[in-house]
């Protein structure tokens, strides 16, 4: 019996070993699994919410909140709505975040530079500072500062400087500008912002002219002059329309049986403690980032700069630091995000930040909805920091090439 020889004809790659097909199948299956998991997860949450009769929804936002918010930077009454109260709380968090980031950056850069100082003792001191504050939990530090601030005398026995500045364990009060009325103050502030904008514009134009023509145009002096002149003009106009100055300086003064301080500008203990804690903690990380950034710039750059006769400070300012910035910015942004998120510990030291207010709100409104909202708020804040960071990063990147 004759056997047919097996044909060695090539019939192409079998379908189950076809790279393209396998790749697609894997993609589709993992997409299916991911979608199923997500749908299952949310169906479970929604189901559980309905089943247990947990209230949800956002109808509460227009209800009156009826609860105190200790610290507020915009006018707040307990008859305001939940939505407005959330805004008040979000502004509290934003204020801490912005002040904290500015102060932590300044302190961190100083410490980072000092860490690299030629002085052995200064460098070692900064090392101790960095290692100490970086390695102790933030909550522990905050509670430490809480107890430190509490050792200040209470309000009735507090320190008074120049008859105007009150320092006690409830906070620091000092004379500050207060709008004589909300309308006139906001009108002037808006006009002042326009004036600053005009000043910047003049500065830009004159800089451009100077660059183009080489004629000295004094852009900075001209810009400041324009801004100040416009601001002063706005002040006079608003003042004459309203009949009184848009902002008046108000001095703090004790009142009532308990001698609490009213008027002026007050940094309350909660804000003070939270700021001290966040700034010191974050500055330790910033210092390390700055040190790493400066050290990443090749030694040759410094040597060349010194050979050209630049002083140590000038070398840092004009040669090392600008190059270090490109390394510094991305990790710095993540520290800014951390600081913003860490401000949610404010409740521990008596500051009404967004999280603190949200926890209180769950007493009278659906917790799931509130926390969904504040998660979105934190996300928005973090994305704003990232956006600012990315824009700045693009601004300072190496151009040309």
């Amino acid at each position: 019996m004759a056997t047919t020889p097996r044909a060695l004809t090539y019939r192409g790659i079998p379908v189950w070993r076809h790279a393209l097909i396998i790749r697609w199948v894997v993609q589709i299956v993992s997409a299916l699994v991911a979608v199923t998991l997500v749908v299952w997860f949310f169906a479970n949450i929604v189901g559980a919410i309905q089943e247990r009769d947990i209230p949800a929804g956002f109808g509460f936002l227009s209800r009156e909140y009826q609860t105190p918010i200790g610290e507020h930077f915009i006018p707040y009454e307990s008859s305001d709505t939940f939505l407005y109260a959330l805004l008040v709380a979000a502004i509290n968090t934003v204020v801490v975040a912005i002040l904290g980031v500015i102060l932590a950056t300044m302190l961190g850069v100083l410490i980072g530079v000092a860490r690299l100082s030629g002085s052995w003792i200064l460098s070692r001191l900064m090392l101790v500072y960095i290692e100490f504050f970086r390695n102790v939990p933030l909550l522990v530090q905050l509670l430490f500062w809480f107890f430190i601030v509490l050792t200040l005398p209470p309000v009735r026995e507090g320190y008074v400087f120049f008859d105007r500045i009150y320092v006690n364990n409830a906070g620091i009060s000092m004379p500050g500008p207060v709008g004589s009325s909300l309308a006139s103050a906001s009108a002037w502030l808006a006009l002042a912002a326009v004036s600053v904008g005009l000043g910047v514009l003049v500065h830009r134009v004159l800089t451009w002219r100077e660059d183009r023509t080489g004629r000295a145009s004094y852009p900075l002096a001209a810009g400041i002059t324009v801004a100040v002149a416009c601001g002063a003009a706005a002040w006079l106009i608003v003042g004459s329309v309203v009949g009184e100055a848009p902002l008046v300086i108000s001095s703090p003064e004790p009142y009532g049986r308990f001698g609490r301080i009213g008027g002026g500008f007050t940094i309350r203990a909660g804000l003070l403690i939270l700021l001290i804690g966040l700034v010191i903690y974050t500055s330790a990380f910033v210092a390390e980032i700055v040190r790493a950034g400066i050290q990443s710039v090749g030694r040759g750059q410094t040597e060349a700069s010194r050979a050209l006769g630049l002083s140590g400070i000038d070398t840092l300012r004009h040669v090392t630091f600008p190059q270090a910035l490109r390394v510094i910015i991305p990790p710095m942004i993540s520290q800014y995000l951390n600081l913003t998120k860490n401000s949610s510990l404010g409740g521990a030291v008596g500051y009404t930040d967004l999280t603190n207010v949200a926890i209180t709100m769950t007493q009278t409104a659906p917790a799931v909805s509130i926390f969904l909202l504040i998660m979105l708020a934190y996300l928005a804040m973090s994305l704003t920091w990232s956006l600012i960071g990315n824009l700045y990063n693009r601004h300072i990147r190496i151009v040309g090439g």
Partner: protein, 363 residues
């Protein structure tokens, strides 16, 4: 079988259980209550040999752990009274310490026989959680202030900074109170009560606010308690009562009547050291202690002399109060005409009569 097929089958096997889980969620399991399923809770308690009470181990006066490691306090004694009535042994209890957020779910599930944990009764809790027995302590939100500030009343707190714990109704009540009397109170909110007390102690606030019972407890923990006073008025009503799971009326009645026993023993002047074992001639006393007639012990399924066991081992209401809340405890005063005094028509000469602690007549 080709590879594609294998993948499809594997994927199906992987996904199917998930879909099943997702779908099966539609039929929630009925919370199984062993007591309700196999007869009364009373039978279950007797078979088990102890009464399981959800309580607390961290509130001085009400429910805490003493230096010997025992659960003690006002709430714990109420649990002991129920055990004494039902099992004849006040020590046959098991305390399950729970947090404030677990209260509802714990009593709803029926896993415990009794919830005694400084819980304020309210209509929605009554509807959702379980049945509330008699109010055993009338609490209310008040203020702790420094004595040298000479604050005569809560209405003189104008412009005060008040430390408060966040996330509690206390915060809401404080705002209501401040608005109502236009006091301009400045609230300083803390996440933890300990921090709020610490801030008050150091003068960051002029007053600390929480329920009266809490104020006395925290006051007793301050270095010099006498430098601070609790203002007499309250700005809210917090009636504290034990609760039992829904669905067993007999058990609910038993708990209620045990609470009555404590109150009536005080009203009739019977304490742990003069519990009668023979007919006294006072028909009310004799009926309470099972020496003559009946107040319904048979229907309830407890022994005729249950009250003897209860009062002998736990004491009457006054004894329980003084042991944990009064002079021997956290120093909460119980004057003649305060809410937590008796309201009673009992013929005893020194019984306070103007209070709200009261139980239905035993007859």
């Amino acid at each position: 079988m080709n590879g594609l097929m294998k993948l499809v089958i594997a994927a199906t096997l992987f996904l199917a259980p998930m879909l099943l889980i997702a779908c099966s969620r539609e039929t929630p399991e009925q919370t199984s209550d062993p007591a309700a399923a196999e007869g009364s809770r009373l039978d279950a308690v007797k078979a088990r040999g102890n009464v399981v009470c959800a309580s607390n181990n961290g509130i001085p006066g009400f429910g805490f752990i003493d230096e010997n490691g025992n659960h003690v306090g006002f709430d714990v004694d109420l649990c002991r009274a129920v055990a004494a009535a039902v099992l004849g042994d006040a020590d046959a209890i098991e305390i399950v310490p729970i947090s404030a957020t677990e209260m509802g779910a714990t009593v709803q599930s029926g896993d415990v026989d009794l919830l005694v944990r400084t819980v304020t009764r309210s209509s929605s809790r009554d509807a959702k959680w379980g049945n509330f027995a008699y109010t055993m302590y009338y609490d209310g939100q008040g203020f702790l202030v420094r004595k040298d500030m000479n604050v005569p009343s809560v209405l003189d707190l104008e412009g005060a900074a008040v430390c408060v714990t966040q996330g509690t109704t206390t915060e809401l009540n404080l705002q209501d109170f401040s608005n109502q009397y236009d006091l301009g109170i400045q609230a300083v909110t803390f996440e933890k009560t300990d921090s709020a007390v610490e801030a008050y102690r150091n003068g960051q606030c002029d007053a600390f606010t929480t329920d009266h019972s809490g104020l006395y407890a925290y006051r007793s923990s301050l270095p010099i308690p006498d430098d601070h006073i609790v203002l007499p008025e309250t700005i809210s009503e917090e009636p504290l009562a034990p609760a039992v799971p829904h669905g067993d009326e007999q058990w609910y009645d038993i708990v209620n009547i045990v609470m009555s026993m404590l109150v009536y023993a005080e009203a009739y002047g019977i304490s742990s050291d003069n519990v009668p074992t023979a007919v006294t001639g006072n028909s009310k006393v004799d009926r309470l202690f099972g020496l003559e007639g009946s107040f319904g012990q048979e229907t309830l399924g407890i022994s005729r002399t249950a009250a003897q066991d209860v009062i002998r081992s736990v004491g009457n209401y006054a004894e329980i109060y003084h042991r944990s809340l009064g002079d021997d405890g956290i120093g909460l005063p119980r004057g003649d005409n305060t809410r937590n005094a008796l309201w009673s028509a009992a013929p005893c000469s020194d019984c306070p009569k103007g209070g709200q602690i009261y139980a239905s007549p035993l007859r």
